[in-house]
């Protein structure tokens, strides 16, 4: 009887010990996860910062003063309006059948 009681007592103590161990282990894991999350956050911020700096660099490389200076160094000049050649407009191809029909005095059949 006493032996049974001692066995039961040990089981309870073991159970409690296991419980406390589990709680401690989970806390440690949570703290460790916290460190990792914060490290990832810092990493994201660092990459965002790097992205911003590259974006700024692109903007400054594309600044109009710089482009103009480099263009002049390459011997390029600003075009005058009289040498401006405008490409045909997008709708020209669509208008072409009607124009051809007019030239040959034909009737344009509409697509069914």
């Amino acid at each position: 009887m006493a032996r049974r009681k001692r066995k039961a007592f040990f089981k309870v103590v073991l159970l409690l010990a296991f419980f406390f161990f589990a709680v401690t282990w989970i806390n440690i894991q949570a703290t460790s996860m916290g460190y990792k999350i914060e490290q990832k956050r810092e990493s994201i911020n660092r990459i965002k910062g790097e992205n911003e700096r590259l974006f700024q660099k692109i903007n400054s490389q594309l600044s109009l003063e710089k482009l103009e200076k480099e263009a002049f160094q390459m011997g390029l000049i600003y075009p005058e309006p009289d040498i401006l050649v405008l490409l045909p407009d997008k709708n020209r191809a669509a208008r072409r059948p009607a124009q051809v029909a007019k030239i040959f005095n034909m009737t344009l059949l509409k697509a069914s």
Binding site: G34, E38, R53, Y78, P81, L86
Partner: protein
């Protein structure tokens, strides 16, 4: 006997282990339960913090989504003597950070607790500081404003102070929208100061982005051409405005030399001179007081208006039609038109065109010009006002008036804000054209336009011509006035305002040169500048030639 001895020893061992466990449990109970409140509070003070973070300011774009103003990370680096403790590490700091040792040593000696090292440091500097890992050597992260286009429209964009709050221009007017909110985050730190856990609380309001109607490319051309002409003509200052006459959008607002605290195109007042003759002409045609073919005798260049006052033309002319009066810019002819029109009708038309009042573009310090109450004007004022004296206007008022003529008689509200978006690029506000009033009948506007085309084809605006393109415009030369409206001796202001293509106007351009010394008249100074700017816009925007040029 042996078994009994073994069992009693086992019992003692068990008792010892249990006692140990019991002591640990008792201690745990004491820490976790009895002293829970007290220890939580003490630990909280050490490890729990709430930090305040600023979000970056919203961006400012031009009409084509080119960035004009952005926020970049910067760091203020410093030494806290309390933690730095001794000056022995200063040589290493100065070597790595590339700061002269004597400069750093002096600062360390002179400052009491906080020793500033560098403000607005870039990321590379911050990384060097971080790598040093010296206690007491710290950096505070912040955002600072960055303008990728250097000085372009800096006076319109405005300036922010050290706290990243707008103090002028767009940065000030839209400070609440651009600023966004402050973000609070609860954090837990360990004994080494590393963050274990951080909350992300939502910002109450995220910053918005602003799109201006300004076109970066047109602005650039205006800036460079204006600078060239101000230097070439040896002028004190120059201004250019470019506007879309169909909706009032301002594409460019340039001034040289630029003062970051002023926006002359909205604030500066001047006597418009002969550019104002178009207003008199519009009033006379609209009220059917005259027709373009009506003739007036121009007194051979000198008209003795009163015994003491004579009105002069720069070229003597005899009889001219109304159209020719504007083409040749006859002051006498225009004065006679004004007198025939009458003060009441002229004054009414001047007010309808928006002169004497702010345009409502929204910038602090905008002037309404100088227009006295009608009853204070005498007959001589009527005569001289007809050709642009006895009145002061701002550049924005003048270009807005010509845009109204260009678009067929509709006065639109000038706009500089195109749209406002949130961080997800969703529009919160979009500008649309606002008709202030209908000024002129379309036929009247067409007649005025035809006359202005002749001014450029064969009149005083010949130097604004571009072959193949129909341009309408008017020159203006007047004496400069001070803020009180008093004339300054021997100092003039020349201007040219015009629009093109005349058959379907898309751009109105105003060029003003303050006190050009090389030439006197606008036909020699402002008109050629207009032509150069117009040429650039034609090529940039691919404007086809006019059918009749």
């Amino acid at each position: 006997m042996k078994t009994h001895y073994f069992q009693s020893r086992l019992l003692i061992l068990k008792f010892a282990i249990l006692s140990g466990i019991f002591i640990v449990l008792a201690r745990l109970f004491y820490l976790q339960v009895s002293s829970h409140k007290k220890l939580t509070s003490t630990a909280g003070k050490e490890v729990e913090r709430t930090i305040l973070e600023n979000s970056p300011r919203g961006l400012i774009f031009d009409i084509n989504s080119n960035i004009l103003s952005t926020s970049v990370k910067a760091w203020d680096c410093y030494i806290l003597k309390k933690y730095f403790k001794s000056a022995k590490k200063l040589p290493e700091v100065s070597r790595v950070l590339n700061i002269p040792q004597n400069v750093l040593a002096d600062k360390y000696k002179n400052f009491y607790a906080y020793v500033p090292i560098k403000r607005n440091a870039d990321a590379a500097f911050f990384e060097k500081v971080k790598k040093l890992k010296i206690r007491g050597l710290q950096c505070d992260e912040k955002y600072r404003r960055h303008y990728p286009n250097n000085e372009m429209i800096r006076n319109i964009l405005g300036v922010v102070n050290s706290k990243n709050e707008g103090i002028s221009g767009i940065e000030l007017i839209f400070n609440q929208l651009l600023r966004g909110g402050k973000r609070k985050r609860g954090i837990l730190r360990d004994a080494h100061g590393r963050i274990i856990y951080a909350q992300s609380s939502r910002e109450k309001s995220k910053p918005l982005n602003i799109f201006l109607t300004l076109d970066k490319n047109i602005q650039y051309f205006c800036d460079s051409i204006l600078k060239k002409f101000v230097k070439k003509m040896k002028a004190d200052m120059g201004m250019v405005l470019v506007q879309n006459p169909q909706n009032g959008f301002i594409y460019a607002a340039s001034s040289y030399p630029m003062d970051i605290n002023q926006i002359p195109v909205f604030q500066w007042i001047y006597e418009p001179g002969s550019t104002f003759k178009t207003i008199t002409l519009s009033a006379a045609l609209e009220t059917k007081t005259v027709t373009p073919q009506d003739k007036f005798y121009c007194e051979n260049g000198r008209w003795q208006f009163t015994p003491k006052i004579a009105i002069h033309d720069h070229e003597p002319e005899k009889t001219l039609t109304v159209s020719e009066i504007i083409e040749k810019s006859s002051n006498i002819g225009c004065a006679k038109i004004g007198i025939k029109l009458g003060m009441e009708k002229l004054y009414r038309q001047i007010k309808l065109f928006g002169f004497g009042a702010e345009t409502g573009i929204g910038f602090y310090g905008e002037s309404g010009g100088i227009l006295k109450p009608m009853k204070k004007y005498r007959r001589i004022d009527l005569a001289v006002m007809s050709y642009g004296h006895a009145i002061a206007v701002t550049p924005i008022q003048m270009i807005n008036a010509y845009s109204a003529i260009a678009n067929g008689g509709n006065l639109y509200e000038p706009k500089i804000i195109y749209k406002i978006t949130d961080s997800e690029k969703k529009s919160v506000y979009e500008a649309r054209k606002i008709l202030i009033r209908k000024l002129l009948q379309k036929e009247t506007a067409e007649k005025v336009k035809d006359i202005l085309v002749k001014v450029v084809e064969k009149g005083t605006g010949i130097k604004a011509q571009i072959e193949g393109y129909s341009i309408a415009g008017k020159t203006g030369t007047s004496k400069k006035i001070d803020e009180k409206g008093n004339y300054l001796t021997n100092i003039n202001v020349t201007s040219f305002v015009g629009f093109f293509p005349a058959e379907n106007p898309r751009y109105t351009i105003l060029v003003i040169l303050d006190h050009p010394r090389k030439y006197y008249y606008a036909s020699e100074t402002a008109a050629p500048a207009f032509r150069e700017i117009a040429k650039k816009i034609i090529v940039l925007k691919g404007i086809t030639k006019s059918r009749k040029s």
